[in-house]
Symmetry: C2
Subunit: 883 residues, 2 copies
């Protein structure tokens, strides 16, 4: 049919279905491209004939306000070809050709213009339709629906006005239902609609089908710039300059009696992925009736009974389409007088469970290779398979919504403080911490709590980060909650909650309820296990976990982590029983006193590390030396001032101690703690702290080696390095302390550095010569490269930046390729040049984000490390990246 | 004499003076290399013969503990050659060869080993010396001095023990002065010293001159690793692995009577640079006597009277050496019985005034080209010529010392608050602000004050930065001052000062005094003017100034600034009369209310800009839109809490307002304000602020154009850009507002962006397409690239980092080439690729630092911008960079 393409003009604005393909999605829209593909693949006649007006025509319309010069002629040619193919004529008074006109852009946009059906009907052709179908009422009902739809959708006549006319007529005729209107009534209604049309638009209703087509086409084009479409695009980050295509297709009718129906069909169960077609249909109905929910649909399986032949044909086509698209399909079909027509197909959206099931079955059926099958999975969505959730069968009332910040569901008594959470946990009471926001000193409570709920902050807030790291469900920024810590209440509208009251949160959806909703614990099902095992075969990128305590380490191994890529030693000091010892260390007046305090922490740290090493049984464990500024372990100045005022009145004995603490807090206070005295800067100012930690690491390594069969694979990591000499000083410290414990670098342990400052990326080649590994700290690298404080940006700037389309996603969720990514690539090149045997990993939050994992694979890293619950996701994403 | 070089061995450890040159400084040390050069350049015999043992021999000694195998033989050969040349023999009992042995490293190190003189004397040769000089007392005094010096310097016999022996002898002999000791006494003393030597070292005093030489050589080598030398190197950042050379030279004697003398001679006046030799000498004395200050020296001019021939010869040699070295010389000489010997020469250290004078004279005399002359100037030291200073003639008592943080001297009444400073200024009272540290809200007081004094913080503290920017003298971190703001006192030891008491500070030296010391106002003298005009001929880099008010702009022009590279609009809001309006803007509940508040600021901003444009008369003026976070303009939470508590008790009418302010302060509070809601992020969140500013800029541009003959060259600068879309949004805002005012981009004004984030450097090519200029904000780029908060680092980390040799200087003073420099180069390349016509400048503090200016010239920038007082320095440094 290539001859049909207009060759007089360089630009072809109209493609017959037979001339397009699914690769032409950008030009023909998703719907149009798939109709073309089906037309070429399926038996002739299964896809009603039609053509597509390209997005390029829309773009030209948008920029000029007019339409491409060649369009009218090309459109007329296309209609002529269509008439020839189906043997009916547009506007024919015998058996007229009727068309549907639909918008269809590159990506599905529910906010776009509705469909116009039955285009081609007119006062002259309606009788032809009546004759051809031998159903006068059907013909006139179709006609009045067309006039109504055209008036509203194409010319903007308000739907209320149309509905008012129908209501008046029904009153006059004394009927209640549209279906009770007879032919005469429908004729009268059609005439009335045309009068309304004229009154509203100033135009006579177009009787000429070509004119109808022209107006409908321009209306589809203009709908691209309509408010609904624009706001949908804004929300979904769809560029304004794509434009929409227009799909024109011969009408078929599912409402021609008991041997007709309309339906939607999935090639497999859309919820479970089970390998049977599923869906719904309605006998003697048009497609809109199926999706509108006005009538109760039947399950697709019943079609096998009702129309066995058509069902068999449909099932065969679904299988065929899966083969064509290599993915599960979501289709629309119509059966007209026993004959099956396919009206649409697309890859089926499906929950994680179905995605995993499909992938496994597709490989077993020989439909896809393992790599192809894994590519069909949305790795990010796998999260849902890994956390407890609200029982899907449970009914509950949603109290409020917040930001889904760390997946999974949790339920427990409200605790307003870390202390209360710890106390409750000691009595085996499940609690959910509820606070406006959280700080480092609250982390002790995180360990004790089942979940965390805050009224401020977003996905990058402290609460969210720590909760994700620990696999605790978390809902953040639930601004409907008014939390008054002094009063000990949470107010939501008229509801007032107190400490101890039951609350449940779903960190995957952001839902909050006070109903006692049942939780369901997720397990990795066999299909997911299979997918993960294939992912492991395919991927080249290693996957480790960030874990600070043995429990997390064991969970991570359960999820398939190949090591610990980041153990944050400071989290060990947050536990309630350790905070006093840590504070004593910080409050020390001199090095000697600090050493005494450190001596008390040493056995605790050693025990921590032994637990981690035992859990990991010889897999790599990367331990980062103390990183956060010391003031994070002390109360805030404002808290201390309050406490001091109170102590002066009621607890004079405490005053001296509080004054001393206040002084230290003031000394340690920093304007920008993120850029202050932390990381290896602490190690240089207070080497005794790192010496204690290295001693604990070495003793633990030896103890576990001697006690178990697995020699720990210990990696000591220096944080926040800028300068080569910082690194050599700290490495010398590690080596010296290790030698004192009888341990040798490169044999009993290795030394590496975080790469988390832009300067470190620039001088990576020099740094690499001194270490066995680099680990990219992409959180801090993002903070510094972009000058974005994670704690400050998300609640204020980021939402605005996303709405203004400055960024499409938080750079703390998905790595900023252009900026941070460039620095990472520089450092990878430098690192390998400086030390060809260097091991390169990433331990920032990005290590668990599929898009970022793709980048890290491209950049040539050896492994990613992420929170335990994201390990399976990372394994799948790594396999996809390898493809 | 090349034949003298040992050819049997690949390594030559000993160089005769005739075989070396000044280029061999690394191998022969500074002193040795210059002696070689003089030997080759001056008349034979003027430089006493000798040789140098290389630093390589020292390095080998340090690494092996022993000495190079070939050294002993090479040393013996060198001595033999020396004996042959001067016709005397080492240890000869008639007329023995006596030598001096000195250390001499690549850079002058006053902390190194002392000289050993008269080496070669022994019981047998002392009589030869007596005979040859016909002065037995001289010979024996020389001998006992040698033994004494050798024992102490070479073998470490404590000086106290030696002094005790001298004292005992004097008591026994009943004399008071060393000079009263006769030959007999000196003989006895020499014998006594040898006994002490034996008792202390276990060795017999070496009578063999070769043995003396060997021991002295090793002692020089070992002195390199002595405590004094090591700590000197630590302070002065001299690498440990350089090693020292050993210079061995024939002794000459300035103490042989009235026709002998020793002295130091500068080729020009060492204080003023006037073209006459200057210096000091002592008749009948050795060199040590001149520098020790024991006897009153004579001025060099008097030598012309005393020994006219020798003086004429010396003057000629000084001129000759200036020609050789192309610089002013600092020499040591001895005249022995009328004959002149040159013992040392080096480039003269001199104050800025002399350096400038020398440069001008050297060009006028044809000694140097302009470029060569300018290269002899230490650009950083020129600071001293530009600020008021304490009258050099004034006597005063130093109360305390602090960090010299912004040059110049200031004197006035103590003011503890900005408010007090402003009030005093209104009554024309000079004040010095004295505070523990300063914050943004204190800046109003900076305008009013003559100087700033703090007890905390260093050169990169807020006080220092703002003071330097405004050209206000500042002394920081004077930790001896105990400032009690509540009590209104400053305590320094026993001295207690109150508000209003007189205080004076010297920001160039860090001195603080309470004496009424006179100040001298500096003016650019004609020589400096000449140097600057030559610098302008030579340099290719433009020099602009950072200035926020017309007064600064006029000063900058006076210093030769070719434009304003940075006008910080926020400084205009710090003035006392504007803060309330600014606060009203920040406290606005909605955009409408904010617009009302902005309307009130608009005419003030417009007047500010008009003043700047008028001052600059058509030169470029780069105006940065509002940059700092809004909370900088509000009081702190702690202040407000205090105020609120007080108001609740005594001023109930203020409570509501304070509560509202507190709420806003809490809303605006940020964990890391440096990485928070500032720069163009403000412009995106609150476009109405930038709209007001752009309106003011455009109206001012037009008003000044219409009023004066000079059309302003207006450049609008967007701060803190990361993303291309941030820039396009803000540029669109500027263009839209400007068009509303009838102004056109590229004609009436240009638009540019700060490059001050690592991400911006990475994506510079994309940013460049949208703007006419980039200005590197190297302060913030340093903060982000290094993850160093300027406000936090200097007082805590930086001192330690310098002492640990991690950095040699603050990266906020001199640009970090490896890190920040790499980012700058990336952005320059990207910028020029994205827009070949782009103008590139720098407006960070580094723009006034000579080393950084050299880097910016290399990197290919078009101009630097710095504080007005550094403009002349930048002009000179830019000329040096062009050389």
């Amino acid at each position: 049919m290539m001859a049909a393409i207009d060759t007089k003009n360089a630009v072809n604005y109209v493609y017959d279905f037979a001339d397009g393909s699914r690769e032409m999605r950008d030009l023909l829209g998703g719907k149009g491209a798939n109709l073309c593909e089906m037309t070429r693949r399926l038996e002739p006649g299964v896809v009603p004939a039609g053509f597509v007006i390209t997005t390029a025509a829309c773009v030209e319309h948008m920029s000029t306000g007019g339409e491409p010069e060649a369009l009218a002629a090309q459109l007329a040619d296309a209609v002529a070809r269509l008439e020839a193919r189906v043997g009916r004529r547009f506007g024919d008074s015998d058996d007229p050709l009727l068309l549907s006109v639909r918008s269809g852009s590159r990506e599905s946009m529910p906010g776009m213009m509705d469909t116009v059906l039955n285009l081609g009907l007119s006062d002259s052709s309606v009788d032809g339709l009546a004759r051809a179908t031998a159903n006068e009422r059907f013909a006139w009902d179709s006609y009045r629906r067309f006039v109504q739809m055209f008036a509203n959708v194409v010319r903007g006549v308000p739907v209320e006005q149309i509905e008012a006319e129908i209501a008046q007529l029904k009153t006059r005729r004394g009927v209640h239902l549209d279906t009770e209107l007879d032919v005469e009534a429908l004729r009268e209604l059609t005439a009335t609609f045309k009068r309304v049309f004229h009154a509203q638009t100033g135009d006579v209703f177009p009787e000429d089908p070509a004119d109808q087509m022209h107006q409908a086409t321009l209306a589809v084009f203009d709908s691209w710039s309509g408010d609904r479409a624009v706001s949908y695009r804004r929300i979904n980050h769809i560029p304004d300059d794509w434009g929409t295509a227009v799909t024109v297709q011969q009408m078929v009718f599912g409402n021609k009696g008991d041997d007709s129906c309309s339906g939607v069909a999935f090639s497999r169960d859309e919820l479970t992925g089970a390998p049977e077609p599923s869906g719904d249909f309605l006998v003697d109905a048009q497609g809109e009736d199926v999706v509108s929910g006005v009538r109760n649909t039947q399950e697709l399986a019943q079609l096998r009974e009702v129309m066995p032949e058509a069902y068999a044909q449909l099932a065969g086509i679904l299988r065929q389409l899966e083969g064509v698209y290599g993915d599960m399909q979501d289709t629309e079909f119509t059966i007209e007088e026993g004959r099956l027509y396919m009206l649409q197909t697309r890859n089926a959206k499906r929950p994680a469970q179905a995605a995993v099931r499909f992938a496994v079955d597709a490989v077993n059926e020989g439909l896809l290779t393992k790599a192809q099958a894994i590519a069909t999975i949305d790795a990010a969505a796998l999260d849902a398979l890994l956390h407890p959730t609200f029982d899907p069968a449970a009914k509950f009332a949603v109290l409020a919504h917040g930001v889904p910040a760390s997946p999974g569901a949790a339920k427990g008594a409200i605790a307003f403080t870390a202390k209360a959470a710890v106390a409750a946990a000691e009595h085996h009471v499940d609690v959910v911490i509820v606070r406006p926001f959280t700080e480092a000193e609250d982390v002790a409570g995180f360990f004790a709590a089942k979940g965390i709920l805050t009224s401020e902050g977003g996905k990058a807030s402290h609460a969210a980060l720590v909760a994700r790291g620990m696999g605790r469900p978390c809902v953040c920024g639930a601004s409907e909650l008014h939390i008054d810590l002094d009063a000990g209440t949470v107010r939501v509208g008229d509801t007032i909650l107190h400490e101890g009251d039951l609350i449940a949160i779903n960190g995957s959806t952001g839902e909050i309820t006070i109903d006692d909703v049942a939780l369901v614990h997720a397990e990795i099902d066999p299909h997911f296990e299979t997918v993960l095992s294939w992912a492991d075969e395919l991927r080249t990128l290693g996957v480790r976990a960030n874990a600070d305590v043995p429990e997390d380490a064991r969970r991570a191994r359960g999820f398939g982590a190949e090591g610990i890529g980041l153990c944050r030693t400071e989290h060990m000091f947050m536990a309630a029983d350790r905070q006093p010892k840590m504070r004593a260390m910080i409050m020390a007046d001199d090095v000697a006193e600090r050493r005494v305090a450190l001596e008390r922490l040493l056995p605790l740290q050693q025990a921590d590390f032994e637990g981690l090493f035992e859990a990991m049984e010889g897999l790599p464990v990367t331990i980062r030396l103390l990183d956060p500024p010391l003031h994070e372990f002390l109360p805030s100045e404002i808290e201390l001032l309050d406490d001091l005022r109170e102590a002066r009145q009621h607890r004079p004995g405490d005053v001296a101690d509080l004054e001393r603490t206040l002084e230290r807090v003031k000394e340690l206070a920093e304007t920008n703690p993120m850029l202050g005295t932390r990381g290896c800067r602490l190690g240089i100012l207070h080497p005794e702290i790192y010496e204690m930690q290295v001693t604990a690491i070495m003793r633990a390594t030896r103890a576990v080696r001697e006690r178990s069969g697995h020699a720990p694979h210990t990696e000591v990591m220096i944080p926040l390095v800028n300068y080569e000499r910082e690194l050599t000083m700290m490495r010398e410290l590690v080596v010296r302390v290790a030698e004192h414990e009888g341990m040798r670098q490169g044999v009993d342990y290795t030394v590496g550095t975080m790469i988390e400052l832009p300067r470190a990326c620039a001088v990576a080649q020099h740094l690499a010569a001194h270490v066995e590994f680099f680990s990219f700290g992409t959180n801090d690298l993002t903070q510094t490269a972009l000058g974005f404080s994670r704690d400050d940006i998300e609640s204020t700037i980021l939402a605005r930046y996303i709405s203004e389309k400055i960024v499409s996603r938080s750079p703390f969720e998905t790595i900023d390729r252009d900026g941070v990514g460039t620095l990472v690539r520089t450092a990878v090149a430098g690192g390998r040049a400086g030390n060809p045997r260097i091991e390169l990993g990433v331990c920032g939050e990005h290590g668990g984000d599929p898009d970022s994992i793709r980048f890290f694979a491209e950049a040539g890293l050896d492994y990613v490390s992420c929170s335990p619950f994201r390990v399976p996701i990372a394994r799948v994403a790594a396999a996809q990246a390898a493809g």
